[in-house]
Structures are given as structure tokens and as C-alpha cells.
């Protein structure tokens, strides 16, 4: 089984930056060969794979001992090429998002606000890759593409989002 994607996905993302959510990192453990090929294909198309530290924290937390922590960290090192800093501007964007989401933001995780705030910082340049297709509404973010991964019992769906300043 392999990832099913829009045929022009890589031409859309070529020379751009992709921002990974925690759920992508976790799901990459289910079928590592498939996800590894996908990540490699992104790199081959000069897409830079990034994330933010809160995502790394979500992935690393709960490791029972140092050895396990280091192994989790090595997975991150294999996939993520750069961590984007959480700047003051991004925190300001998060406060804007709280206002824009209104009541819909009540149950949202802090990491999702920070991912959204980071997307807003780099309009049209940074693309979020996430399984969380309910917390990035299309009245705020631009839905770019859908990626499906058929597992043996179900089909996992992932979204690619961008923020446009227009």
C-alpha cells in the first residue's frame, strides 16, 4: 500500500517548506517504509521538512527512560530538517487566531494554535501537513490538498493547508 496523493502535489510544494504536526510523526511509525519514501520524495523535490518544538515535545513526552527518549529523538532527527523558532510575531498571531476562532477555539490544543500562528507568519510559503482536519477551518486557512493512506482496516486522511495573507 502506498500514499495516494494529488498528481501535482510535488509541483505545488517544490522548493517550499512543509510544517509537520505531531500526528504525522506518530502515524509514520505505523508504516515507516511508506512514510519514509514520502518524506524522501519531498526532500528530492527540494521541500524542506520543518516543525516546531511543541510538536517535538508532544512526540517525546512520556518516554520511560533515556534510551527510549534518545530513540524517539532519532526518529525526529531522521525526518525533520529544521525547527522554526516561536517568535513574538507568532505568539501575536496566536492571539489573533483566538479571536478569529471564537467559540470554535474552546477545545483546541495549544500546539495547534502555535502551528496556525506559524503558518500565518509565512503566508503562501509554508504548508501544514496534518491529520487534524477539523481545527484548521477554511475561512482562515487555505485547504491545498488531501492525502490518503489506505491502512489494512481503514483509510487515513491528511490535509495540507496554507495561510494566504490576501
Amino acid at each position: 500500500m502506498e500514499i495516494i496523493k494529488q498528481p501535482n502535489l510535488f509541483s505545488l510544494l517544490k522548493n517550499k517548506h512543509i510544517l509537520l504536526d505531531t500526528n504525522i510523526l506518530i502515524d509514520s511509525l505505523i508504516k515507516p517504509s511508506v512514510f519514509e519514501s514520502f518524506f524522501q520524495e519531498l526532500r528530492d523535490n527540494n521541500v524542506t521538512i520543518t516543525s516546531i518544538h511543541p510538536v517535538a515535545v508532544e512526540f517525546l513526552q512520556g518516554a520511560a527512560n533515556k534510551e527510549r527518549l534518545e530513540e524517539k529523538q532519532e526518529i525526529l532527527n531522521q525526518i525533520i530538517e529544521a525547527y522554526l523558532p516561536l517568535t513574538k510575531d507568532i505568539i501575536d498571531n496566536v492571539y489573533k487566531l483566538i479571536e478569529l476562532y471564537g467559540a470554535d477555539g474552546k477545545g483546541m490544543e495549544m500546539t495547534d494554535f502555535l502551528l496556525g500562528g506559524t503558518l500565518m507568519q509565512y503566508p503562501n510559503k509554508l504548508f501544514l501537513f496534518t491529520k487534524n482536519t477539523s481545527d484548521f477551518p477554511m475561512n482562515i486557512f487555505n485547504f491545498i490538498s488531501v492525502i490518503n493512506f489506505p491502512n489494512h482496516k481503514s483509510i487515513q486522511t491528511y490535509g495540507i493547508y496554507m495561510y494566504s495573507a490576501d
Binding site: 511509525l29 524542506t48 518544538h53 530513540e71 510575531d89
Partner: protein, 66 residues
């Protein structure tokens, strides 16, 4: 361990360019992924035992899709 706070006050106007793309080590990635997946499952089990004690459903984020 990552220095989680080192970059917090920095600014970054342009996204970082990685000129020299390294190949992912497929074999290493697959072996590591298999072990780390097992850790996540054990952590979920640990949390589910904690849930019994504290009555707080903390397990949802760690459950793998079927």
C-alpha cells in the same frame, strides 16, 4: 536534548534553506520506527491505567488508528 527555549525570542523573517539534503536512512528509520511504535503503545497502556486512578481520559492522542 533540544534546547527548547533557545530560539523563542529570535526572529526569523525568511524560512531556513537547507541546501544539502541528506538521504533518510531507510533501514535505520524502519527499525527505529518499529521500536518507537511499541513505546507509544506501552505509554498508552500506562496512561490508560492512570485513567482508572484519576478518571481522566488522557489516552486519546496516543492511540494508533486501526
Amino acid at each position: 536534548m533540544y534546547n527548547l527555549y533557545a530560539n523563542i525570542m529570535n526572529t526569523l523573517d525568511e524560512l531556513p534553506k537547507i541546501e544539502k539534503k541528506e538521504k533518510i536512512n531507510s533501514r535505520k528509520f524502519e527499525l527505529l520506527a518499529k521500536r518507537v511504535r511499541q513505546y507509544f503503545e506501552e505509554e498508552a497502556k500506562y496512561l490508560s491505567n492512570q485513567t482508572t486512578v484519576y478518571g481522566n481520559n488522557k489516552t486519546t492522542k496516543l492511540i494508533f488508528p486501526s
